[in-house]
Amino acid sequence: MTQAATSTAVFKSKAREALSDPALQQAMDRAKGGFVGARRISIENLAEFDSLRDTARDIKDHVLNHLDLYLERYERKTIENGGHVHWAQTAEEACQIVKKICLDADARLVAKGKSMVSEEMGLNRVLEEAGIEVAETDLGEYIIQLAGESPSHIIAPAIHKTREQITELFYKNHKRHGFSEQVTRREAIVNEARSVLRSVFARADVGITGANFLIAESGANVIVTNEGNGDLSSTLPRVQIITAGIEKVIPSLDDLSTFLRILGRSATGQEMSAYTTLYSGPRREGEVEGPTEYHVVLLDNGRSAMLAGRYRSMLRCIRCGACLNHCPVYSAVGGHAYGWVYPGPMGSVLSPLMQGFEQSYDLPNACTLNGRCNDVCPVRIPLSDMLRSHRFEQYRRNLNPWLGRRLLSLWAWFVRRPRLYQGVIALPVWLMNRFGREQGALRRLPGAGGWTGSRDMAAPEKRTFQVQWQAKRDNGR
């Protein structure tokens, strides 16, 4: 299910909605506690964690410096393994490639494991328009597919859904599969989804997954999951398609181990996911199980351009979601407010780059620059610095709201002339003190409704520090 492009209007209004949605708030609270706490415990138990982060960052930086060669090497090995490698410059091209593979294979049903890149591509809609049924099999993706929504978190797509909402969705949609009861217990919910999706794996003609890593050494594609649906989608159907961004390639298997040690812990607090699988091509000679066709679709979609500038380190991202989990803004408004498939800090960096600065005005600005995301990023991406860079870019392109920009310019004009500034602020300070000193604070302040709507504004002293200091000096201390 594709989402409308990010836009200014979307963020503010969706954020407002989200803040007053009790079900969402409850869900976000639970999620925040879960992921944050689990991560902390798992890294407390690993003395080498920080050192691993440095190593991981260095590996990624090295690969990015030679990305062309690593991609060529990965491609050569994949072809040696009997696979096909397709290259797509844009999301649209990638969708067309996947569609062609499916149509050429006479596919009726596609089983999808979770792939954020496929969301970025908007793949499902293109396949559905071509008459192919697309079944999401990751439980979270399945839930939001039923709800007609897009994912709100890159690891837990249905994190915003409460149990009651899931019960409702299943009750409405599972009747045609022969289920007529409302399932309320978590265990029963999972069991019912398991039953319903079993037949998908068995009937699907094509399985599509993403890739957490592409190994240049041997041409392997690695998926890191817990449910098993990605693996079933990669073994039972006769055609296997992997969609991956070009930045996913890493040099060797040893490098993989370093990343695996930080990925699970950063994402969900796990040392190792239940299933970490390396796929190396179609079925081998003499095998009766496994796909006969194996395709890797490599997507650029702006990544090669990101390589050139100050955003290069964003390409280190291993899509763990730690930045989302630790971002107070994301925790308050949830993923849908970000308007596209990548939410939170990493989404606020990527969306302007991939969707355009004009469309994504609010994302880099709805951030306090507190830097907690930088602290938890396993590959040390300076996320908040990038968000500030986006703000510089927005200013350069004159995308700021007119009034705010004018006020800031006016303010800066005075700040650059400190003595004049001090003269000018004397009156407002005196006035604020005059009207506020009895209560100690002002409940209303013209022009500052954003503050006084929900907070009192402390009343200043009658005179500023500089005025008092100068007076003391003049009187001889």
Binding site: N65, L139, A156, V190, N226, G228, D231, A274, E289, S304
Partner: protein, 218 residues
């Protein structure tokens, strides 16, 4: 006419501001980096490895039994399945140990890919990784990956001498295989699970609900 592949590679190279684009020295550097690849920082893993491995496996909701020899395997399997009241209809994969097992005649044993109706599969692990309690299973002509995912119950036989300390030890072994990596290398740590419903872990999302390990020592 240039195709997407050339254009992407060209875009990458120009972003990297490369003078000599595909210079011999760069190519050699990349090859060297791969061929001389070594383990980076590794966590400390305490001895004894077997107990470390079993503890880690149990910590992720796996169960296990340590047996003294191959002859005890069928009874260990029987014990596990009867305790859980699971019908004794086994799918068995290929492996040095498993191939040598003498299955009692009253046990239904089949050697074929799994279907959605199968309930129990027995696989032999290529290795175990003590660092994380992970089992390594390779696909093969008679080692069906479907065994690892379709049945409700998965039982894995592991030769205790094949337990290694760190994950990288597996890569060293796999690199020595004559045909390179098989189609599938599964690193399995505990049974299937999900926390997609209210952030609470449930087992048996799509893969097995239960993962039982039989560690064969001696």
């Amino acid at each position: 006419m240039t195709d997407a592949r050339s254009e992407i590679l060209q875009a990458v190279r120009s972003s990297l501001d490369l003078g000599e684009q595909r210079s011999a020295s760069r190519v050699a550097l990349v090859e060297k980096r791969i061929s001389e690849s070594e383990a980076h920082v590794q966590p400390l893993v305490e001895d004894p490895l077997i107990q470390q491995f079993c503890d880690k496996h149990a910590a992720v909701h796996g169960t296990y039994e340590r047996v003294a020899g191959l002859t005890e395997v069928p009874s260990a399997i029987l014990r596990h399945l009867t305790a859980k009241e699971i019908p004794i209809e086994l799918l068995v994969g290929q492996g040095e140990l498993l191939d040598a097992v003498l299955w009692p005649s009253d046990m239904s044993v089949e050697k074929r890919p799994a279907t959605v109706d199968d309930t129990v599969a027995i696989s032999e692990a290529y290795a175990g990784i003590a660092e994380t309690g992970t089992l390594v299973l390779l696909s093969g002509q008679k080692r069906w990956t479907s065994h690892n995912f379709l049945p409700d119950d998965h039982i894995i036989i592991l030769d205790s001498t094949l337990i290694v300390r760190h994950q990288e030890d597996i890569w060293t072994r796999l690199r020595a295989l004559p045909d390179g990596l098989p189609r599938v290398v599964n690193l399995i740590t505990g049974p299937s699970k999900t926390a997609d419903v209210e952030q609470t872990v449930q087992y048996g999302a799509h893969g097995p609900r239960r993962l039982h390990l039989i560690v064969v020592e001696g």
